[in-house]
Symmetry: C3
Subunit: 142 residues, 3 copies
């Protein structure tokens, strides 16, 4: 099976908080990086999501927001993934940016070329990827 | 009135599950295809959403993720719309992909040209569109 | 600090509704325009979100849907920001559209060039930006 999402993060569920309609699921990736997803309780049931189970997080690159510079703001986004710029693939309008996290996970983002200049993104420099938990799709082996 | 969303799905509300802040709303389209949306309870009240009422689901094409091949993963996305690739409109960077569902609904997605190759998308071949319920905007006649 | 989000709206929290997993936060901007965000209760706690506190809302331009013409549909999107088209920057495939609200806030959206034609967007004409509350990221001074 193939998926159009640029970010495919395999890991293990390490926390699960239930709500009335939605649940918050924390996935710990092999290198120790963590991704939090908000999914419906219907999905928790139908996928059998539980702490200790394997799961995969899918995130389309345009849903990843990037930060650079000293963090003078704290964000509501549950996923604030600090790392180093490891890829910059420039197109006519947008650039795909790769950020390698401490645990080795590479997060891909698509931002405008203008944003790359404004953020001063350069290979080897620090940057942070922000992903809302509600933008993460979870999958489990069928 | 015109809307920039590429996907405009008219149907009837066939299920509604309330939560503290959010509600899950199922829309059945004329051909029988179903779309699930998560909206706030504030919207349920202000729009008068209820089972049996007409409603329209709006989804921007870049929010639709695509799958191809044998489904060896089960997903949290509430909308997993299996169909046949019925349109491939290639641009410089992205391709707009049309997927026709069993009930005749056409779902439009925008993915990178690279993803089209990786997924091996071809006209007439099966593919699945994934849409998170939280990415669907609902409308009702004013 | 720099952010890749095209929309950065600074304001004050004027309402906060708690849920089991998520909370709805209303931000009033300096000119009186309002933005509603859905964030997790975890974020409400960790950021110390409360009525009267300063906060900033971040929204990537591709997450903004546009409407034109007489509003014959009512929408679930909590943010329905009526204004006037004040910028149209056309690219090869997409156009960045600026909409100036009554309070002076400019909302940026990226839509396809095709959508600009279909909506008949022109400088000085009315248009409405739709933003789902769950697509808004909140920030507070660190």
């Amino acid at each position: 099976m193939n998926v159009s999402a640029r970010n495919v993060f395999a890991g293990k569920i390490t926390a699960l908080t239930d709500g009335a309609v939605n649940a918050e699921v924390e996935l710990t990736l092999s290198g120790g990086d963590k991704i939090v997803a908000i999914v419906t309780e219907g999905s928790v049931q139908s996928l059998g999501l539980a702490v200790g189970k394997d799961a995969v997080a899918y995130v389309k690159a345009p849903w990843v927001m990037l930060l650079s510079g000293a963090p003078d703001v704290r964000f509501s986004a549950r996923n604030q993934l600090a790392g180093t710029v490891s890829a910059l693939t420039k197109g006519a309008v947008n650039t795909e940016v790769g950020i390698t996290l401490a645990g080795g996970t590479v997060v891909h983002s698509v931002v405008t070329n203008e944003a790359v200049l404004e953020l001063g993104l350069k290979l080897g420099e620090p940057a942070t990827a922000l992903i809302k938990a509600s933008h993460v799709i979870l999958g489990v082996p069928a």
